[in-house]
Point group: D2
Amino acid sequence: MEETLEKAYAIKDYIIKIRRELHKHPELAFQEEWTHNFVSKELTGLGLNPVKKNNTGIIADIGKGKEKVALRADMDALPLKEETDLKFKSLNEGVMHACGHDTHMAMLLGAAKLLTDYPVKRPTRLIFQPSEEKSPGGAKGMIEEGVLTGVSEIYGLHIEPELKIGSIRLKPGPMMAAPDEIDIIIRGSGGHAAEPHKTEDTIYVASLFINEIQGLVARKSDPANPIVISITSIHGGNAYNVIPKEVKLKGTVRTIDEDSWQNVPIWIGNTLNALRTSYQIEYELSYNRGYPVLRNAEEKTKKLLSIAKKIFTNVEVMDNPTMGGEDFAYYLQKVPGAFAFIGAGNKKKGISSKLHTPDFTIDEDALPLGVALLYSLANEKINN
Amino acid sequence: MEETLEKAYAIKDYIIKIRRELHKHPELAFQEEWTHNFVSKELTGLGLNPVKKNNTGIIADIGKGKEKVALRADMDALPLKEETDLKFKSLNEGVMHACGHDTHMAMLLGAAKLLTDYPVKRPTRLIFQPSEEKSPGGAKGMIEEGVLTGVSEIYGLHIEPELKIGSIRLKPGPMMAAPDEIDIIIRGSGGHAAEPHKTEDTIYVASLFINEIQGLVARKSDPANPIVISITSIHGGNAYNVIPKEVKLKGTVRTIDEDSWQNVPIWIGNTLNALRTSYQIEYELSYNRGYPVLRNAEEKTKKLLSIAKKIFTNVEVMDNPTMGGEDFAYYLQKVPGAFAFIGAGNKKKGISSKLHTPDFTIDEDALPLGVALLYSLANEKINN
Amino acid sequence: MEETLEKAYAIKDYIIKIRRELHKHPELAFQEEWTHNFVSKELTGLGLNPVKKNNTGIIADIGKGKEKVALRADMDALPLKEETDLKFKSLNEGVMHACGHDTHMAMLLGAAKLLTDYPVKRPTRLIFQPSEEKSPGGAKGMIEEGVLTGVSEIYGLHIEPELKIGSIRLKPGPMMAAPDEIDIIIRGSGGHAAEPHKTEDTIYVASLFINEIQGLVARKSDPANPIVISITSIHGGNAYNVIPKEVKLKGTVRTIDEDSWQNVPIWIGNTLNALRTSYQIEYELSYNRGYPVLRNAEEKTKKLLSIAKKIFTNVEVMDNPTMGGEDFAYYLQKVPGAFAFIGAGNKKKGISSKLHTPDFTIDEDALPLGVALLYSLANEKINN
Amino acid sequence: MEETLEKAYAIKDYIIKIRRELHKHPELAFQEEWTHNFVSKELTGLGLNPVKKNNTGIIADIGKGKEKVALRADMDALPLKEETDLKFKSLNEGVMHACGHDTHMAMLLGAAKLLTDYPVKRPTRLIFQPSEEKSPGGAKGMIEEGVLTGVSEIYGLHIEPELKIGSIRLKPGPMMAAPDEIDIIIRGSGGHAAEPHKTEDTIYVASLFINEIQGLVARKSDPANPIVISITSIHGGNAYNVIPKEVKLKGTVRTIDEDSWQNVPIWIGNTLNALRTSYQIEYELSYNRGYPVLRNAEEKTKKLLSIAKKIFTNVEVMDNPTMGGEDFAYYLQKVPGAFAFIGAGNKKKGISSKLHTPDFTIDEDALPLGVALLYSLANEKINN
C-alpha cells in the first residue's frame, strides 16, 4: 500500500492543478457545461473514451468486462458567493464549489491517471455525475441511462473539512438520511390586528404548528431512530395592524428508518388537520420525497475499511448515521458499495471551515489520500 | 339619612353580637341547621313569622301587600380551617365563615330590627338563603319555592375586606361572571416512559391542552368581552418510569357575554378533538353550567347609588365586571334589583385579608353602614 | 332639531359633491397637498379664512371669542388599490380613501356651510388634520401649533359601514385603545437544517414567543381589562435546508388601562429574556408607543348623546371599548370632548363593507345626519 | 453444542420447578429474604458454598483460580398485583415477578447444575444480585463487597416476552440507556381562578414546561444520539375555583451519549429559570442520576454471538440501543462482558405479554436455551 500512496503523492501537483481549475469554474446543478468539457478533455488526454450521460454527466471505462468497480464523483456547485482569498477563487460570481465537488472530481481524475499508468486486472468505471445538490439529483438519471450495467460494486468519497486530515469515517448500514422537503401554506380570512376574534390568526396557528411538530419528533418517534423536522423558512404579513391571510412555511424532514419515513407525512398531516379543527384555518401541504437513505453494504464497508487502514492514520466507524442526505444512495439501492467522508481539515494551517459556507476551504494534502483509496478499491480482486 | 345611620349605629352591639355568634357556628352548604334555628329564633324575637324555605332557608315578611322589597343574605360557610386568633373563632373544626356570610346575615337581622322598630310604608321580605357557595346554589330552590312572589325589587350585599371601610362598589348591567365548571379526562394506552412512541402520552397532551386553551382566550374571544378559563387541578401518574393511562383535569370558565358563554364549550371541544386527531388520545369532557351572569338593573342601581351616597364616603361605579360568580344572579333574572360590594378593610387596624382565606377578618364597624343601606332600600317609595 | 336636520338635507347634494371630489383625489399621510388646496378653497368660498397648520392641515374659525367648540376631520387616505366600481373612484392609483376621511371632511364642510348660513352664538373652530393613519399622527403637531388655544370642547366623528345607517355609537370614558407597535428580531447562529443542535433555531424560538405572548394576554392580564397582542408579520429563511440566522417579527399591542399599558412591554421583554435563557438566542426589541387611549369626557358624551337622540334612530352606548386606535385621543387629553361612530351601512342597498378594505363603500345618505350633529354640537350653549 | 443443548433440555423439569417456586414467592428490592434462603439451599444442594453479599445477595464459585467467568441473575420483584391465571401465581399479594427475575435465577441455577454435573476447565462465579429495579440498584453494593475480584468477564441475560422464543438480541457498545430521575415542584402564590393575574398560575407554567422540554429533545439534542425526557406524574390542585400554590412533577431522562448525559440537566434548569423569568414562579429541581449506560464489550459480544448462533435460531445484532436501563451496567464498567435479551414470546401459545405488566407470562421452553448459553459462556477458553 505504501507503494500506492507513493504513486498518488507523485501526481499530487496534477491533482491540485485539476482541482483549482475546477474550483475557478463552478457551475450549478445540470448546468455543468464547462465542467463537462474540462473533465472529458482530461479523460481523453488519459487515453480514455468519455461518454456523455444525463446531459452533463460522463462515464469512462478502464478495462473491459463484467464485475466492474464503479467510482463516482459529483460535479455541481452551490449558489453561494465565495468569500475566500484563494488565488483560484470562483470566477463565476455567486456560484461556488462550497461542497467540495471540485475535489471529488480531481480525486477521481487522479485515480484515473493512476489506473491508466498502472493498470489493474479488474475493469473500472469512472462516473462523473451532475446535480448532486438539487432534488431529484443527477444519480437517478445516470442510473436510468444505464451507468450501472456491468457494475458489481460502487464507491464514493466526500471531502469533509470538519474532519482532520488523515481521518476517514463511515459505517455499515444506514449512514445518511432520507431528506424530504415540505411546503406548507396556512390560510385564514385575515383582518384587523385589533380584532383577532374576527380572523383566523394564521401567524399564531403557524407558531402552534412549528411547536407541535417538535412534539412529534420527541414523543411519537422511536427515540432510537433519529429523525429531524426543521422548519427553515416562514413568511407572512407586512403591516403592523393586519393579520395576514396566509403564512408560507418551508422545511426539511430527515429520516433513517422506514417506519419514520412512512409516518412523518401522516403525523404532519394530522397536526395540520388538528389545527383546522381547533382554529378553522385551511392549509396546503406539499410533501416532496428526496433521496433515499444511504446504506453502505456490510461487505463493501469492510473492504473499504481494510484498505483505508493502510492509507489513513485515523479510521472511524461511526456509531450513528448523520442526518445529511446524498444521492449516492440511489446507486447503493442497485449495487453494493460504500460511501465515506475523508478529512481535509487542518487547524495548524487554519483550515477548519464548514461545508456549504462562503469561506469553505480544505487542506489539499488530503487529495492524494483519496486518490490512493480510489485506486486501491479498483485494484482489489473480484471476490475480496 | 343621618338619622338612619344613627339608628344603625345605635344597634351596633346587637349586630356584632349576632355576627360573632354566627361566626362561631359555621355550617357547610345545605347543612345550615344550627344557623336556621338561630336566625329563626332571632326573627321570632323581633315579632316576625319566619317560614322555612328550601330546607334550611328562611323568609320573613315585614308588612303586607304587593310590590315588596326583598333583602337577601346567604347562610353557608366554607370547608376551610380557620387560622385567626379571634375570640369568636369557628367552633366547627374545618369549617369557617371565610366568605362573610355571617356578616350578611347579621346585617339583615340588624335591618330587620330597625324595620320592626321604625316601620316603613312598603312591605319588606327578608330572605335568608342556604348554599351560595355550592353549585347549583340555594337561590334556585328558593325561587322555585316562591320566595319572589309579590316581590318587585331585590337587593343583596357582599362584604369585601379588600375594599376600604366606607366604600361601596357596584355597576349597572353585568357585574359578575357566569362561572361554569369543567371536568376532563384524557386517556391513552399508557406504557413505559422509555418508549413514548408506543404510548399516547397523556401528560404531554394535557400540557398541550392547557396551553392551547389560553390561546382561545387570547385569539378567538372578543378582547372587549372578558373571559377566563383556568385549569385548577391536574392529576395523573405516580411512577418515574410509567406514562399514565389517564390525566384528570378540573377547571372553571368565566364569561360575561352571551356569545362567549355559548362559544367556549365549543372551542374547548374543538381543542380536544384536535388533540385526538394529532395524538390519538381519547377524552371525556363534562361541561357543567353554573350561575348565570349577575346583571344589576339600571334603575335599581341608580336607586342604590343615590342612597349609598348618603351613607358611604366612597361610592364607586365599576368600569368592568369582576369574574367572580354569585347565585344572587338568579333573583335578578326574575325581578329587577342590585347587588353591591361593601368595604370592610382597614389597614390601620391591620385588616387587609382576602375572601376565601383561612385568615379572613373584617372591620366590624362596616356592619352598621350595611344595615343603614338595607333599611333605606326598604324605606323608599314604590316608584322611586 | 327637525329644523337642523332639514337644513342638512337641503345641502345634501353639496355634501355629496364635495365627498366625491375628495374621494377621487386620495393622498397619503402628510402628502395631502391637493386636499389642502381643495378644502382651503371651499372654506374661502364660504367666506372663511383658512389657516395652514402642521404642513397640510387647516384651521378656520367661525365667530370670535373664547370657549370655542372645535370640530375635527382627518384628511389622509390609505395605500390601497381601490377595487370598487364607483364613478368617483380614486384617480390616484394605489391610494384610496378606504377609511372614510373623505366623508369626514365633507361632513365638516357641510357643517361649515350651515354655520355660515345659519350662524350660532358660540364661536366654532374647524380643524382639518393631516395624517391620522400614520404614527405619530397629525393631531400631535396640530396641538403643538396651537389649534386648541381658546377651545373648550372638541368633537369628532368616524363613519362606520359595519354599523347601520341611522345609528350612532359611543361611550363615556375609554372608548378606543392605545395602539403600540413592536419590532422584534430573533437572532441565532443559523446552520444546517439536519443539525438543529449546532444552531439556535430562530424559527422555532419565534414560534415559542408567538405562542407564549398569548399566554400573557390570557394569564397575566386582568381579564376585565381588554388587551390585544397580535404578531402580524414574520419573516425568516429561504432555503429548505438552512436554519436562518434571524427571524423578524412585527406586531401591535392594544391596551385600555394604564396598568396594562405599563406592563405589556415588561412582559414581552421577560418572555424574550426567558427564551434567551432557554435557547441562547439573542434579540432586538423595539417597542414604539402609539396614540394614547381615547377617552370621551363624561359630560360631553352626555351632550352628544342628548343631541344625537334627536337626529339618529338608534343611539347606542357601548358596553366596552373597541381595540382600534385614533389620534383624536391627543385632543381629548387637552380639552374635554367626545368621539363617535356614525353608521353608514345599508344592507338593502348592498352596502356592508369594512373599513380599510379595497371595496370600502358607504351609504351617502348618512352624511346629512353627521352634518346635523356637528352643527348642533356647535349650536349649544356654553354651559350645556 | 447440540450436546450442551441436550444437557439443558434434560434438566428442563428442574429449571421450571425452580422458576415456579420463585414465581410464587416474589419479594421487593432488598427484601429478598425467602429468595435468598431458597437459592442458597439449592446451591448447597449442588455441593456449592453460597456466600452472602449485599444483604440478600449471594455469590457461589465453581472451580478455583483467577480469570473467572461471572454469570449474574437479579432477584427482586415488582410492586404489582399479578393478574394471571397461573397455578404458580404470586402468593405475595401486590408483589409479582413481572420482570422475569424468577426466570433469570432459574436459568442461573440450571447452569450451576450443568456446571457441577459437567465441570469445565475455567472457574465460574455465580452472582445472585438483589434490587435491580430500585435505584441505586444492588449491583453497586455487590461490587463494593468485592464480587468482581478475580473475575475477568461477566454475562447476564434478560428474558423478553416481546421477542419470539428462539431469538436472542444484543449489540456491541452502548445497548441500554442511563436512566435518571427528576422531581420538580413549581410554586406560585396561588389564588382565585377568576383572577389569574393576581397569581402565578402553576398549572399553566407546568404545561409550558412539559411542552418546552420536548423542544429540547427535538431541537437541542443531536438527532443521532437518542434521548428521552418523559414527565410521568403531575399533581396539583383540587378545587374548581382555586389556582394551586404548587404542582409536583416526576419524570425520567434517558441518555446514551456522554454529552447528552451532561447537558440535559443544564437544559432542564435553563427551561425552569426561563419560566421563572417570564412567569415569576419559583421551583425546586431534584435531578437524580441512575444507572450508567450499559456498554457491551466488543470482544465479549462477539463471543456471546458466536455461541448463541449454535443455540438460538434467530440471532439479532441490534442497530440501536434501547432506552431502558439496567444496573448490570455497573459490572460492565469494571470488567468486560455482555448482556443479552432472550426471547420467550410465543404467539401460537398466546404468550405475547409485556414486561412490567400484571399479565406478564413467558414460554418456559425458552429457559433451557438460556441455560445452555450460560453454561457455554463459562465453558470457553480463557482467551477465546
